[in-house]
């Protein structure tokens, strides 16, 4: 019982370096430069509502693409030999260990003017620009975060008891029914944590859109980064609004999870 004391350093740590900083964001967001209460920061944050919408849209599309690509992959992986599964998992993880910035920069090289894609398509007589648009940003996001979708879904799916699947087959289910009634419902927790792990960073990250997007592809993370160095009050207000959005998203995702678990 004495071991409860072991949490004391941790609780102090979390208080000082996690809770207090978040409270400080709240205070800074509701005060002006001289420290008086003010709502003006939220007024200036409101100017960026277009950026908010665009960020959420890009994050939603990227998350949806990741899910559509990753789900079949995870399913296929669970049906392979165990040693092959491990190899595929490793191959999916390796790019994640390259630096975050290098992964985006690799896409800049790939898509830039006279880059490999541009020159290959030019030879076929197709000319165009492939960088500096929303599609390139989404491609970069999917590239950054696809493994975060694959891993949780795969982990949950590979833990499904084979006996359940066999039982369903014995009771006369065909493959589609086994999938629809057994595998899919049991994989929902994996889907939910995958969506969370992709959506949260892709809605809030910066640099991806700076490197791959056009001038109107600024995301909310880029705005925070740009503003915070000069105007911490507005920066905090924007961060706070973003946190609220993400919190609402997480709550909705959790509701889905619970409902499905009961049903």
């Amino acid at each position: 019982m004495k071991t409860r004391k072991l949490t004391i350093p941790y609780i102090i740590w979390m208080l000082v370096f996690t809770m207090i900083p978040i409270v400080m964001i709240g205070i800074t967001a509701f005060t002006d430069k001289s420290g008086n209460f003010s709502l003006a920061n939220f007024q200036s944050a409101f100017h960026y509502s277009g950026v908010f919408t665009k960020s959420l849209l890009i994050a939603l599309i990227s998350t949806a693409i990741c899910l559509v690509v990753a789900y079949p992959l995870a399913y296929m992986m669970t049906r392979m030999k165990k040693s092959t599964q491990n190899t595929v998992i490793m191959l999916i993880m390796i790019p994640m260990w390259m630096n975050f910035l290098l992964r985006i920069y690799a896409w800049v090289i790939l898509l830039q003017k006279n880059g490999p894609i541009d020159s290959a398509l030019s030879m076929l007589g197709i000319h165009g620009t492939y960088i500096g648009n929303t599609a390139a940003v989404i491609a970069g996001m999917v590239y950054e975060y696809l493994p975060f979708m694959v891993l949780p879904i795969y982990t949950v799916m590979s833990k499904i008891d084979n006996g359940l699947i066999e039982a369903a087959q014995d009771l006369g289910s065909n493959n589609a029914a086994v999938f629809g009634k057994v595998v899919f419902p049991l994989s929902i927790p994996g889907i939910i944590s995958g969506i969370t792990m992709v959506f949260v960073p892709s809605a809030s990250t910066f640099l991806v859109s700076q490197y791959l997007g056009g001038t109107d592809d600024i995301m909310i993370g880029d705005v925070i980064d740009k503003i915070f160095w000069t105007d911490q009050n507005t920066g905090s207000a924007i961060s706070l609004v973003m946190m609220v959005f993400i919190f609402i998203f997480l709550v909705i995702m959790n509701l889905f999870g619970d409902e499905e678990a009961i049903a």
Binding site: P9, W13, V88, L102, Y105, I109, G115, P116, P201, D225
Partner: protein, 268 residues
């Protein structure tokens, strides 16, 4: 018959995904050997590697990245393991509160953690008269690493048989001996995976370091960011290639070791 069809489709699908994942890296590696300054091929050359090794800033940043990752995961592992053991003895509401607070750094976006820590350090810096740098980056990295350790150790504690701890006490160990001789062995897999997760996240971090680094400190990510701003990409390609090769070598070593261990275990 359907199974065989599925097999071909599976291979095709996985191949497509691997092409998607690796073609940007492949292009980067090829470009690193290009004599020219852009992607247009001008002939084979190793000159960007030469430039890279002349760049003292990158080597310094590499050392910073590695020491921060090691120190941060070390401290996070100690703090997190202690916390997990303590949390495991709480019940009900108190436990739920502590665990939810533990999750805050994981679910809150990196950028929010970054700016919030920056506010804190700027505030404390004004009072105690210090500047952001190595230590503030280290503290920030410990912050986002600790929850991974807690999350990895708690399941091991739940699975652990409480009676082995009691047995150690009955056999004359004091609490510390019981912990270091018995309990820690049971927790080791969780502690190690918590440490490794912390280490990888710390190596890869850009956003939180960006906000807490101050004026002089650079790690690899922020150094690359600065290089991209100065528009000197060819050396970056060489750097990426070397990093990629290092990762591949480490993975192969780990894999070979695992295989050997598997063989040894199955031989027994």
């Amino acid at each position: 018959m359907t199974k065989k069809k599925g097999g071909v489709f599976t291979k095709f699908y996985i191949a497509l995904i691997l092409i998607f994942l690796y073609s940007p890296i492949a292009v980067m590696i090829i470009t690193s050997f290009n004599k020219g300054k852009t992607v247009v091929w001008k002939g084979f050359s190793l000159k960007w590697y030469g430039e890279l090794f002349k760049d003292k800033a990158i080597l310094g940043a590499l050392v910073n990245t590695l020491t921060i990752a090691l120190l941060a995961s070390f401290f996070a592992t100690i703090l997190g393991t202690m916390a997990a053991i303590g949390i495991n003895n709480f019940r009900g509401k108190k436990r739920a509160v502590i665990q939810n607070v533990s999750n805050i750094p994981i679910i809150s976006p990196d950028i929010v953690m970054g700016v919030s820590l920056m506010l804190l350090f700027a505030f404390l810096g004004n009072i105690f008269n210090f500047e952001m740098g190595y230590v503030t980056v280290l503290i920030s990295h410990i912050c986002f690493c600790v929850p991974f350790v807690v999350l990895n150790v708690i399941p091991r504690l739940r699975r652990m048989d409480q009676s082995i701890y009691d047995a150690a006490l009955d056999l004359g160990c004091n609490q510390f001996q019981a912990f270091f001789k018995v309990v820690i062995h049971e927790l080791m897999p969780g502690i190690i995976s918590g440490f490794l997760m912390s280490f990888t996240y710390s190596l890869d971090d850009f956003i939180i370091t960006h906000f807490t680094q101050g004026a002089k400190f650079q790690n690899l990510s922020t150094e690359i960011y600065a290089m991209l701003r100065r528009k000197i990409p060819p050396t970056i390609n060489a750097l990426s290639t070397l990093l990629f090769v290092t990762i591949i070598i480490i993975m192969i070593i780990i894999n070979v070791r695992d295989r050997r261990e598997e063989k040894r275990n199955s031989g027994r």
